[in-house]
Symmetry: C2
Subunit: 219 residues, 2 copies
């Protein structure tokens, strides 16, 4: 049964390569599962039909017959359960990989999204200016702890898993800063994950869709 992935036709350049369907595309590429894009317009996102699929009106979504899912983390987990490329067979290694999936989304991503709110969505606002140093300090603390864990390792655990896939995409969020580059261990780790052919195919697919649907006004 065909897999359909909900994605956006176009977003402004600052968001390209970071929209969360990238995670799902990457997981599908790692697992060797073909998929079809389901492009969702801004009007679609507001429709009752779409809200029945995604209550918050966002992307990505995943549809395969009766299986209709949302949340990039849940979709990546669902795909990962079908492929040892993403979740090892060993019971302990499997649960460790899932621990890192949640760590990426709960212990790292919120700090980076807070900075994105400050720098990208509230730029110029007084609160954003006042809050920025504290937000940066929080990220530096977390990044230091993560770098300490990763020091001497290629991946979060012995081999690449869905935990690394989510962590690497999360580390892409502050690309308008040098926060990742300031921790060489993190920068090398991110580069190692992004060097995977499956990542490149996923990124190319997202960017190709945006290029195809670029509005005239943005050219």
């Amino acid at each position: 049964m065909a897999v359909h992935v909900g994605a956006l036709p176009w977003v402004p350049p600052f968001a390209q390569g970071n929209v969360r369907d990238l995670r799902v595309r990457w997981a599908l590429e790692e697992a060797g599962i073909a998929y079809v894009e389901r492009l969702v317009s801004v009007d679609d996102q507001k429709s009752a039909a779409y809200r029945a699929l995604q209550p918050f009106g966002q992307v990505p979504t995943f549809e395969q017959g009766d299986m209709r899912l949302f949340e990039s983390g849940a979709i990546v987990l669902h795909i990962a359960e079908q492929s040892e490329m993403l979740l090892p067979a060993d019971a302990v290694a499997r649960e460790r990989a899932k621990t890192w999936m949640f760590a990426a989304l709960s212990s790292i991503e919120p700090y980076l999204m807070h900075l994105a709110q400050i720098d990208l969505f509230s730029a110029g606002e007084e609160w954003a200016k006042l809050r920025r140093p504290g937000a940066i300090a929080d990220i530096q603390k977390r990044f230091g702890e993560l770098a300490k864990w990763l020091d001497g390792r290629n991946y979060l655990e012995d081999e690449f898993t869905a935990g690394d896939l989510l962590m690497a995409t999360v580390l892409r969020i502050p690309r308008h800063t040098t926060l990742v580059e300031d921790e060489p261990v993190l920068a090398q780790y991110k580069k190692r994950c992004e060097a995977r052919p499956a990542f490149k195919r996923a990124l190319d697919a997202q960017l190709a869709t945006f290029a195809k649907h670029e509005p005239k006004a943005a050219r």
Copy 2:
């Protein structure tokens, strides 16, 4: 093999009943799995030994023989996979429940933690005062969308799952406000989840530990 759950001996009243080991205790109670507390002092949290178990120095942790996990979401998922009380047997229902686990942690919790940062950890700071209306508006939008989904339902899906367990604990975060009560559907849903005997046992256990370890200065 005994299950050990990492928890804090004491926290100030504003955090009691919201520390994330509550989620793990609740899941274990639903699943009928006995556990032993492993209390972690502030000094322990900074130690290399503890950082090997939890790289960010937080609670909860889960240990059962070789299985050593962190992240409340990952631990609840690990427990849920052992009990149909938390994850139904049907393949679609099971993945839907996991979708809601991630939705609670990624699509609702960060907005509430942002408000907690503003009201509880940065109270009186100028940025917090300026940012608060925007943070409240973001929560109201999300709560409205969630209430729309829950309207006419007892739980997020047909029956109570680990998704509801996480969502209910997330909805406890803004208890210093009336944000949940302002959406009667959400308030009733939260109450329905918290009426479960397993929740009460979990909450009582966390609070009993805090009572036992209350510092003299706080009395």
